[in-house]
């Protein structure tokens, strides 16, 4: 299921994309992401396993979400990023503001 959220503690949770984030499904991604970024002092792990593509639109949404969550005292980290996704992060310079790893997100 796309954009599934799992809370792993009162201050941390995982949002699993499960699919490419493209214009066709960006609304669901944006809504869920922005909602979670409103939490105070919350660390959000974006689990990108299963996603190989982020459109430039989705990159912009993610950048803005990172800014929001940090303004609320929290953080946004990316896990499960494959080669293609890392390529996108690099060329969009999103890797300058979001830490990305190919590892799975922390369990707790």
């Amino acid at each position: 299921m796309a954009f599934e959220f799992q809370e792993i503690s009162p201050t941390a949770g995982v949002l699993r994309t499960g699919v490419d984030v493209r214009p066709e499904n960006i609304e669901g991604y944006r809504k869920k992401l922005y909602e979670l970024c409103e939490r105070k002092n919350f660390t959000l792990y974006l689990d990108m396993a299963g996603a190989e593509h982020l459109s430039s639109w989705a990159i912009g949404v993610t950048a803005l979400a990172a800014q929001k969550i940090r303004q609320n005292g929290g953080n946004l980290k990316m896990y499960g990023a494959g080669d293609n996704l890392k390529r996108i992060l690099k060329y969009s310079r999103l890797d300058m503001i979001i830490e990305a790893s190919s590892d799975p997100p922390p369990a707790q």
């Binding site: 066709e24 459109s55 430039s56 950048a63 803005l64 060329y91 503001i97």
Partner: protein, 752 residues
């Protein structure tokens, strides 16, 4: 003989079969055989076949009335043999004295006489004479008592012949031993006859042999028609032996006089020799050839009374390409056809036959044909030019086999690939394979035939031809495919062939391609399915016949995959290693039960030809983005030498530019269209995305740099930024109210 009679075949039945065979072969209306009567100076009629009027044939013929020789006699010269004229128009009727020499130096011992009658002209070609000789030889054998007796006699004569050769021709000691030149000649010809009879026992007729020659020639030179004319005994005529190809048979002359052929002619356009092609049946003038076959090419100043041995007529719809390889092919054909014709002539005329070694070579039809079949495949240099590396593994179980393959260029840089397996081996299967190959090439080349780009239609049409053929009971499995390097595709249809395999280099996977389908010829109308595969650089396509069972095993496939992964940068090494695996690491089974063939093609496309274009026009709606993605994937597939980074750059940017047109160009508008056009060259891809939306004043200086926090968290502007990062050239042409065109170029690093 007693054993034969015990097996319920009487002499009567045997001779009746001989007569019927002769009547069928030459279309004689009547035939009779006379055997020695109780009176030693008479022959009594033993058997007659055909509508012979009662009482019209003499019951007894006096031996003294017969000439003391054995050639074919015209009944018109011997009225005593046909007193009632029952064999009708005498000029076409003939007699043959059946005789043999019981001992060297003694006169012929007459065993019988054969009478043959025909109201129509009878053509005794060299092959026909041989056939008659065979029948007479068999009758003689039966009459002489046993086959063993004849062989013993031949061996005796051969032994004596060797003695003569050892001690010099016609020396006094030999004469004293009673060995004459005629003895030697007779022994050699008898042996030749035995050799040829042995070939016939193998089920191959001269007709089939020469058919195979013509079919091989037609396939190789893409001829529409071909014919062989052979010189006759009184060497002033050529008599037509055989015609192959579609139509035109009726208008070909039966005979051609040698005087019509210039003495120094080796080959020439039939346009220059209208007498040789009176009905213009060999097609358009200037494109058809006559090729004079002779043992040696005559010099320029050869006399006009040159008597060549045979001619091959070739008719084509297009130009006949006389490349060095094709000329070499014809020269091999020349040697084989002329050799056999000379052999037959020597037997029929009683002249000296070639020596035993030379004779054995000429009669080794399997070996000779295997050379031609091998030479019949085009020089495959064009594959390398098209960016396809290849290896062929071909091991027939016999010298010539039922497996065959063909690879030839089509228009537009495409390449036709054929792999087929005819049930059976040897020359008969080879003839059938050549016939199928010729049909298929003709269909693909013919304007009237199914489009060459539709393998399923070609197989269906081929099946229609084969199902109506007399050999249709022989199952044939075929895979016919077209490789298109410009589009990076392989389109194929299969009729019962083993599953082809595609090794995907990038995915490190092997795919067993859909195949199957019914064998050709088993039903009059069969529909075949067709598949198109996308081929990428490094992919290996393997087509093979069922003699190579081990190619179906996981072990073989794993080893092949490992080789591909290990030698990604060296396609030649991959092919060498996979070929070695295919050949069971070089271990040849001592007696392979089946033909074994594998075709290996490794895609190494140099790129796409300059100017190749593709265009997509789509509605400005995100719901149509999947169609764009498929289009781009197909586009990238055609760029054979593209890297992963380059493919990513193109696919990401293409979609993003289109998305910008949808989001911003047509913002607030219900309908709009976007045109996406790609132009490919060997070293780069250029594409343009155009919309008729709002347009804007483009200022490259306003593109965010994304270097500080102000930019890095921006939700917009990344599309343009990434476009300039990922593409080598970008040009944005936009005006408010006039729409936008974005032109981008991506160079391929491997090509730069």
């Amino acid at each position: 003989m007693a054993a034969q009679i015990k097996n319920k075949t009487s002499l009567h039945e045997l001779f009746e079969t001989f007569l019927l065979t002769l009547m069928g072969r030459f279309q004689f209306l009547r035939a009779a055989i006379y055997l020695p009567a109780a009176e030693p100076s008479r022959f009594r009629m033993f058997l007659s076949k055909g509508a012979v009027p009662t009482g019209g044939l003499p019951d007894l013929i006096r031996i003294e009335d017969l000439p003391d020789e054995t050639p074919l006699l015209k009944l018109v010269d011997l009225p005593v043999l046909d007193p009632g004229g029952v064999f009708s128009r005498a000029q076409f009727s003939c007699a043959r004295v059946i005789a043999w020499t019981p001992e060297p130096g003694r006169p012929l011992r007459r065993q019988g006489i054969l009478l043959l009658g025909s109201p129509r002209p009878v053509r005794f070609t060299a092959a026909g004479k041989l056939f008659l000789e065979l029948i007479c030889g068999q009758v003689t054998q039966v009459l002489a008592g046993s086959l063993g007796g004849i062989l013993e006699r031949i061996q005796d004569l051969e032994r004596r012949s060797d003695l003569v050769r050892d001690r010099g021709q016609q020396s006094a000691p030999q004469r004293r031993r009673g060995i004459s030149r005629e003895d030697i000649l007779h022994s050699q010809n008898l042996q030749t006859l035995q050799d040829i009879a042995f070939r016939f026992k193998g089920g191959v007729s001269l007709q089939e042999l020469f058919s195979t020659y013509l079919l091989t020639l037609m396939g190789r030179l893409r001829l529409k028609r071909a014919a062989i004319y052979a010189s006759t005994m009184p060497a002033s005529r050529f008599i037509r032996l055989l015609v192959k190809g579609r139509s035109g048979r009726r208008d070909l002359p039966e005979t051609v006089t040698i005087d019509e052929i210039p003495g120094n002619l080796v080959w020439g356009s039939l346009r220059d020799y209208p007498a040789l092609n009176p009905g213009n049946v060999f097609g358009r003038e200037g494109l058809s050839l006559v090729w004079v076959l002779s043992r040696d090419a005559p010099p320029e100043d050869a006399p006009s009374d040159l008597h060549p041995d045979a001619m091959v007529f070739m008719g084509a719809d297009g130009d006949i390409q006389l490349t060095p390889a094709n000329v070499k092919f014809i020269e091999i054909l020349n040697q084989q056809i002329v050799g056999i014709l000379k052999l037959l002539d020597s037997v029929a005329s009683g002249h000296a036959a070639p020596g035993r070694e030379s004779r054995a070579g000429l009669l080794d039809w399997d070996s000779n044909l295997s050379v031609l079949v091998r030479e019949g495949v085009d020089d495959l240099g064009f594959l390398q030019e098209a960016g396809i590396r290849h290896r062929i593994f071909y091991r027939p179980a016999h010298k010539v086999g039922g497996d065959f393959y063909d690879v030839f260029p089509l228009d537009g840089g495409r390449i036709a690939v054929v792999l087929a397996d005819v049930v059976g081996h040897g020359i008969s299967a080879a003839m059938w394979t050549q016939a199928i190959r010729d049909h298929l090439r003709h269909m693909v080349a013919s304007d009237a035939g199914p489009a060459a780009s539709e393998p399923a239609a070609v197989l269906r049409a081929l099946n229609g031809v084969l199902a109506g053929h007399e050999k249709s009971e022989i199952p044939v499995s075929v895979c016919y495919g077209i490789m298109d390097p410009a589009r990076s595709t392989f389109t194929y249809a299969s009729a019962g062939i083993h599953f082809p395999m595609l090794f995907r280099a990038r995915a490190d996977a092997v795919i067993e391609l859909p195949a199957g389908g019914l064998f050709l010829g088993c039903l009059p109308d069969i529909q075949f399915s067709q598949e198109t595969l996308h081929i990428e650089r490094g992919d290996l396509l393997v087509l093979y016949t069922d003699g190579l069972h081990h190619l179906t095993t996981d072990a073989w496939r794993t080893e092949a995959r490992e080789s591909i992964g290990r030698n990604a940068a060296d396609p030649e090494k991959i092919l060498d290693e996979v070929l070695k695996l295919t050949a069971l690491s070089g271990e040849e089974p001592e007696s392979p039960a089946d033909d074994r063939t594998a075709l290996l093609f490794l895609a190494d496309f140099p790129g796409v030809p300059d100017g190749f274009r593709r265009r997509l026009v789509m509605p400005a709606d995100v719901r149509h983005l999947p169609a764009l993605r498929s289009f781009i994937a197909s586009l990238l597939g055609a760029c054979g030498n593209i890297s992963r980074d380059e493919a990513f750059a193109i696919s990401f940017t293409s979609e993003d530019v289109v998305l910008n047109a949808i989001q911003h160009g047509y913002k607030g508008r219900a309908q709009g269209v976007i045109a996406f056009e790609a132009r490919m060259a060997r070293d780069h891809l250029e594409f343009e995305v155009s919309d008729l939306g709002r347009g804007f004043e483009f200022d490259p200086g306003r593109i965010p740099k994304f270097v500080d926090d102000t930019d890095l968290y921006r939700p917009n502007g990344r599309g343009l930024y990434m476009m300039f990062q990922l593409m080598d050239e970008v040009k944005v042409d936009s005006k408010p109210g006039l729409g936008t065109t974005v032109r981008m170029v991506k160079y391929f690093k491997g090509a730069r």
